[in-house]
């Protein structure tokens, strides 16, 4: 499935992700990692849970706000079958928990702090994602 190259939109979106990460550090002194926020929204003690649930609510409202402003929901194209989404989701959950972070936590916040662990984690998952996509598309040919 071809997708259009969107350099400016993607750069602007990335800058907003960085702005959110900076603001969370400024206001609450926390790292903006999706994995950590999601996990602790379920597991943390009550006073630590509230702000995380608020962030999640904000994230989920974003497509609806865009829909209100522009009349269309952001594009979500899923060229993946339901069983593969479930298998992939389960493996992502295992991986980000053992690896203590994902694209936002390690790839953005940790890399921006020049954390050695985050640089190694990001290099590792970028490599295995690329390898997985190559094998699925060009070796197995689906």
């Amino acid at each position: 499935m071809e997708t259009a190259f969107t350099p400016w939109q993607s750069l602007a979106g990335g800058a907003l992700i960085g702005l959110a990460a900076t603001l969370l550090m400024l206001v609450l002194g926390r790292v903006m990692g999706a994995t950590g926020i999601l996990t602790a929204a379920f597991t943390a003690a009550a006073p630590e849970r509230g702000w995380r649930l608020s962030i999640l609510a904000g994230m989920i409202s974003a497509p609806l706000m865009l829909w209100g402003l522009t009349g269309q929901l952001p594009e979500v194209q899923v060229p993946v079958s339901m069983p593969m989404l479930l298998i992939g989701g389960f493996i992502v959950g295992l991986g980000v928990t053992f690896g203590s972070g994902c694209t936002s936590g390690h790839g953005v916040c940790g890399m921006a702090r020049l954390s050695r662990r985050s640089i190694v984690a990001t290099a590792t998952f970028m490599a295995t994602t690329g390898l997985t996509v190559f094998v699925i598309r060009h070796v197995l040919g689906t």
Binding site: P7, L16, V76, F90, G95, F98, H138
Partner: protein
């Protein structure tokens, strides 16, 4: 303040994810498909996010403390270990299969698409399975250590 500010931060993050293309597996997977239908857009997402966060953190961390808390809580681990590398490798495998990462999928929940819901449900099962495994391993290690001493 303590709830409204995080809500607005989540909203900014979610709008960023939505317009960047990170919420769309077709675009994410094409970024990694250099040998096929390559779409370099996600490189621009990473670049934009990294430059802003790099500069933003440097300005913010000059302050003695965040606005609403008394200390900055930065991850303190420095050692590279098997969990970090093995976990990250597995994350990449799952990301390459599904095309969603957690930060991309959570805002996408707002579109109400069943595929996103299914991914996030499986993600949560994975997270809690891993937490159960980790706590068993750590318990066993602690018990072994007590026996030795």
């Amino acid at each position: 303040m303590r709830l409204i500010t995080p809500y607005l931060i989540g909203l900014i993050f979610g709008v960023g994810i939505s317009i960047s293309g990170m919420a769309s597996p077709a675009k994410v997977l094409n970024f990694f498909d250099v040998a096929g239908s390559w779409d370099p857009s996600l490189g621009f997402v990473m670049a934009g996010a990294l430059v802003v966060t790099f500069i933003g953190y440097r300005l913010v961390l000059r302050r003695p403390a965040p606005i609403l808390e008394s200390v900055f809580q930065l991850p303190s681990k420095v050692r590279l270990d098997t969990r970090l590398i093995g976990g990250s490798a597995a994350f990449g495998l799952g990301w390459g299969i599904a095309g969603f990462c957690p930060g991309g999928a959570l805002p996408a929940l707002g579109t109400g698409r069943i595929e996103v819901l299914a991914f996030v449900a499986a993600l949560l099962v994975g997270i809690f399975t891993a937490r159960a495994i980790i706590s068993r391993i750590d318990d066993r290690k602690a018990r072994a250590l007590r026996r030795e001493t």
